[in-house]
Point group: C3
Chain length 138, copies 3
Amino acid sequence: MKSYRKELWFETPHRRDYINITSAVDQCLKESGIKEGLALINAMHITASVFINDDESGLHHDFEKWLEKLAPEKPHSQYQHNGFEDNGDAHLKRQIMGREVVVAVTNGKLDFGPWEQIFYGEFDGKRKKRVLVKIIGE
Amino acid sequence: MKSYRKELWFETPHRRDYINITSAVDQCLKESGIKEGLALINAMHITASVFINDDESGLHHDFEKWLEKLAPEKPHSQYQHNGFEDNGDAHLKRQIMGREVVVAVTNGKLDFGPWEQIFYGEFDGKRKKRVLVKIIGE
Amino acid sequence: MKSYRKELWFETPHRRDYINITSAVDQCLKESGIKEGLALINAMHITASVFINDDESGLHHDFEKWLEKLAPEKPHSQYQHNGFEDNGDAHLKRQIMGREVVVAVTNGKLDFGPWEQIFYGEFDGKRKKRVLVKIIGE
């Protein structure tokens, strides 16, 4: 069994952002030399997500509006978590969008349907944060 | 390390449907010959889910009502994604219900608690769509 | 390839509770002797979750309030699932919070960012329930 590990770093200009990381994960898979196995891609921070959905700007606008409806940022005082912080909403948004994805590796490729793209979802940005890529297989 | 891959195809008669795919995944596991490892089961489309919950029709009715409350289909115009499409809600519903499950394989069986059943959750059906089953182990 | 399996048992005093299980999973990893691989940690019951977030009591209070807003327990009669049961809400809350996490194992350790902690989220407690830890690798 082979294993591969890499961290991808991000610093988004806005509090909330969606970044397509599919090609970066593809590059990791090439570096790994793994042909058959599983790839785990997870946020290493608890106010961010990794998820798979469509690379379509209208949808990303819909995510922003929808997540603000389900877990609004303001008023900050609505969350007990916000004693010394202001990111209570980000911890909740990340639960909706998920921490991680696991992707099949087949014939040396990410085994995806036609529209699947991997995103880093940032909910408390403007600072350096990381995603972990771990691949195991042969 | 062994690996196994299969696609399961679905074409649901309704826009939204829940299909129990546990026995189909069980059959894949038997075909694979893998006794110890991990099984990944994921929707290959971004408007569908694979999740584990109860095989109880009342609950599935509750899912329908609840998801329509959290991410209503109509009016279609409420979603920017719906310029040429009408499935913005399906992309959101899928985030709540999840893209994938990872299931332990132990002694050649899906290592489940007493009520765990795997479902394909369709949120934009009436067309052919796929689920990927990937199993690795020994 | 090595594989390891253990069940962790819980009986929470309240209907809903959050229990930090990171050190128990760490102990499993030590017992397994696995240095490189993937660890799956999943609820074996469909009214409970395993998730990764912050070990902060204010946040756990926010989870309680937020989940009650998105999928309220009462009135029990609002859920068709509640014919002979009263836990319809727990099946929905578990979808938001997730069934499982997959964690990278690197150099014999859970490969975590600075604040990642694993929680058992109970939504229908006061009875014995289980979490499965399955680790594969070398």
